[in-house]
């Protein structure tokens, strides 16, 4: 018998949404000991399905019709008290952001204990024993110390392990995991995925795993269900769906996943150097009340050079200092040491007034398309702001803006509209247009495609590549995503703990990594063994 059966599930969207239903006629089943991956882009309704199963849908999204059965029991008929009981004992859920899912003022041990206290008759001693046992099972070191710690004292990966421990402590038949590794670094993600696989096999738990990442799917899934705008497009065994997708949409998604194979494009070695740093460092001083200083070396002795027409990628995990490097180069923050040479000028220590005329030559595109444009200004105003600052006449600036919107494949009518009228991908195009309006020599892309869905991401990457070739730009590409780096970079610098641990031609670094950390990073990339981008 299946652990979970979902039959013709329909969930309504409130009036005024972009479609009448969040989820429309979706049917699937999760068997005992089976991992079903629900894949889809943002807005596909995958999280809504998870919430419907758990009975956690917000008031505005009622289940319209269909059946939800957990071990044969109808969840839609279950009373609130019964659902509460089922939620810990038969089914449980883990979330994307463990920091907000855990109570910050309770120790981790107490939170696991609470689950046991409400749902079992175990004595205090037995509960403590069970808590330590489950912490050991999720492979946390020193379970005793961890149980006594508060969530903020643990790392992201450890917190997610606590969530998993809490979810599995009563051995539920079904585990619902909603993007549980999306907020984690790639090496931590690999460990958590391995842990989920291990525990699931050991306890025979059925897992409904929600993700947008086909790499994760290929590592984990037994079966895959693909969602698009609330409808189930395709469902089948993993290899079936990934290798021989039947539906056009699935094929498009899989094609959009960048490969880990670096492209072998040669940049002429005599191209002029646009920007070079030497020994660049940034130290943050945490000043105490009594003069006690604590120095944090965010960037430590980074030496790079970028030539015209070249794309240099900086890859690394969160906290590696890669974004700090970018922000120093654009001089959004002042470096604490080292040199930055832009052409013939040394800009690392240049005072703001002298720097202003040079700012035009280095432009940046940020990660979050929703916060990169001033919500109270039209897109046109945003794009011409820079040229106007440098004395370009308004009419000419507008003409340039019109040309650039076409270059980034948008309708020039967009110039009169406000940012909220555009999707994330469109906004990112407009941000690129805004940066290009300055006619820069170096374009810095700080995780510029990380917040985008995979299909949109591949379009923006393609656009960036086109622009780089057409304008013969130098590009500094900051990313945590090795696949993205492989697709766009000519040169790659791998950063860890504020230092560059490996730096060289993309082909060299990707195919013959020398440093231990680089190797570990590539090991951890999900779906390594799968040839994406070719289907």
């Amino acid at each position: 018998m299946s652990v979970l059966e979902v039959e013709d599930l329909c969930v309504a969207l409130p009036a005024g949404g972009d479609r009448p239903r969040a989820v429309s006629k979706v049917s699937f089943a999760v068997g005992r000991g089976e991992i079903l991956c629900l894949v889809g882009e943002s807005g596909s309704g995958k999280s809504v399905i998870a919430q419907a199963v758990m009975g956690l849908l917000p008031r505005g999204l009622p289940v319209e019709s269909g059946a939800l059965r957990l071990l044969g029991e109808d969840l839609r008929r279950a009373a609130a008290a019964r659902l509460r009981q089922l939620r810990a004992t038969r089914m449980s859920m883990i979330f994307q952001e463990p920091m907000t899912a855990l109570n910050p003022v309770m120790t981790c041990g107490a939170q696991i204990d609470e689950v046991l206290r409400f749902h079992t008759d175990l004595s205090r001693g037995q509960r403590a024993e069970r808590t330590l046992a489950i912490l050991r099972e999720v492979a946390l070191p020193e379970p005793g110390r961890i149980a006594a710690s508060y969530p903020h004292q643990l790392s992201g990966g450890q917190r997610q392990r606590i969530m998993i421990a809490m979810a599995l402590v009563l051995e539920p038949a079904l585990l619902v995991a909603d993007e549980p590794t999306t907020a984690l670094d790639v090496t931590t993600q690999a460990q958590i995925l391995r842990l989920i696989l291990e525990l699931q096999k050991k306890h025979g738990t059925g897992v409904l795993f929600i993700t947008h990442d086909f790499g994760v799917v290929s590592e984990l899934a037994h079966r895959v269900a693909v969602l698009r705008l609330g409808e189930l497009v395709e469902i089948g065994a993993r290899d079936e769906v990934l290798k021989r997708p039947r539906h056009e949409y699935t094929r498009m998604l899989i094609r959009a996943v960048p490969t880990l194979q670096p492209h072998g494009r040669a940049v002429p070695a005599d191209a002029p150097i646009v920007l070079a740093t030497r020994g660049l460092s940034k130290t943050y001083l945490a000043r105490g009340w009594f003069g006690a200083h604590r120095a944090v070396r965010a960037v430590d002795g980074v030496t790079l050079e970028i030539r015209r027409g070249q794309t240099l990628g900086i890859v690394g995990e969160s906290g590696s200092g890669k974004s700090t490097v970018a922000r120093c180069i654009v001089r959004l923050i002042d470096p604490s040491g080292g040199e930055i040479r832009l052409g013939g000028d040394e800009i690392a220590t240049m005072p703001a007034r002298a720097l202003r005329p040079l700012r035009r030559r280095v432009q940046i595109v940020f990660q979050d398309p929703y916060r990169s444009l001033n919500p109270r200004r039209t897109v046109g105003e945003a794009i011409i702001e820079g040229p106007l600052n440098y004395g370009v006449p308004r009419a000419e600036a507008l003409e340039r803006a019109r040309r650039l919107t076409e270059l980034v494949r948008m309708d020039p009518a967009a110039l009169g509209r406000y940012p909220h009228q555009f999707s994330g991908g469109q906004r990112q195009r407009l941000c690129i247009a805004r940066a290009l309006a300055m006619e820069p020599e170096l374009l810095v892309a700080d995780e510029a495609v990380s917040a985008l869905d995979v299909s949109v991401q591949s379009q923006v990457l393609q656009l960036l590549e086109e622009i780089r070739v057409r304008l013969d730009l130098a590009m500094l590409f900051i990313t945590h995503d090795l696949r993205v780096a492989a697709q766009v970079c000519d040169q790659v610098a791998v950063m860890s703990g504020g230092r560059i641990v490996e730096y060289g031609a993309a082909e060299e670094v990707f195919l013959r990594p020398r440093h231990e950390y680089t190797r570990a990073l590539f090991e951890a990339a999900p779906g390594r063994g799968f040839a994406f981008g070719t289907a």
Partner: protein
Amino acid sequence: MDAAALATESAAVPRHESAWRRARRNASVRLGGVVLALLVGVAIAAPWLGTVDPTLFDAGSRDLVPGKVGDITTLEGETIRHRFLMGSDSFGRDIYSRVIYGTRVSLSVGLLASLLALAFGIACGLGAGYVRWLDGVLMRFMDGLMAIPAILIAIALVALWHASLATVIVAIAIPEIPRVTRLVRSLVLSIREEPYVEAAVSLGTPTWRIMFGHILPNCVAPLIVQGTYICASAILLEAILSFLGVGLPPDIPTWGNIMAEGRVQFNEYPHNVFFPGVFLAVTVLAVNILGDGLRDTLDPKMAKRV
């Protein structure tokens, strides 16, 4: 990218309603707005609403109960018959006329005091949020100002100057400045970290244009909400000052003054206090309801929760 993909991408954009349109549909905004509009109308049209000069008195028409008809002598010495809708006070002045004319004082005090507090608060807040060395000095000064009860500052300031409409407004506005400064400073500190502000920096936009072109426009919604609350408390504070006899001179008809004069005979003639009290309560309530409605619709964090 092909046309089909472009089409699907734009189709996925959620319908976004402008905050102002949302605000106009909000029941609280409508209720507060309509009541306030009526009061403004009353204040403007005061001379044509069957009132007499609110400072006229007639010894023969003292302490009339509401609805009574009595005589009142104009400055030219002419005696006219007048229906005292809300009665008269112990000088024989028409309470109705005084209350209606008092609306002018209260509304202008509320509006001008909040505008004044906002103007100074915005200036100080921008300075504190943007100029690092100014921050400590300015904010400690504001902390000091906040440590003294608003009413004490206002009384002290009015006592220092001579009491007039302008001095009362300034005296009421000054204790409100620290709160606006704090709000603006915190908004500036968070907005200046937004990527669009950083983008403007890298586009070479001068600092003053970033302040007034990018940061300030994004502070407008919370400032409007804060402004309504200041307006309500300024109206109350003016009434309190007048009631205590330290506000506007007693010959100017304000709700506080009317209540102060009526207080002595409250047991025999409660209407002296009742009518201005009702107007005061309704006005403050309307302003606060409007403020709540605006907060719910203009504040993006609140809007998301709906």
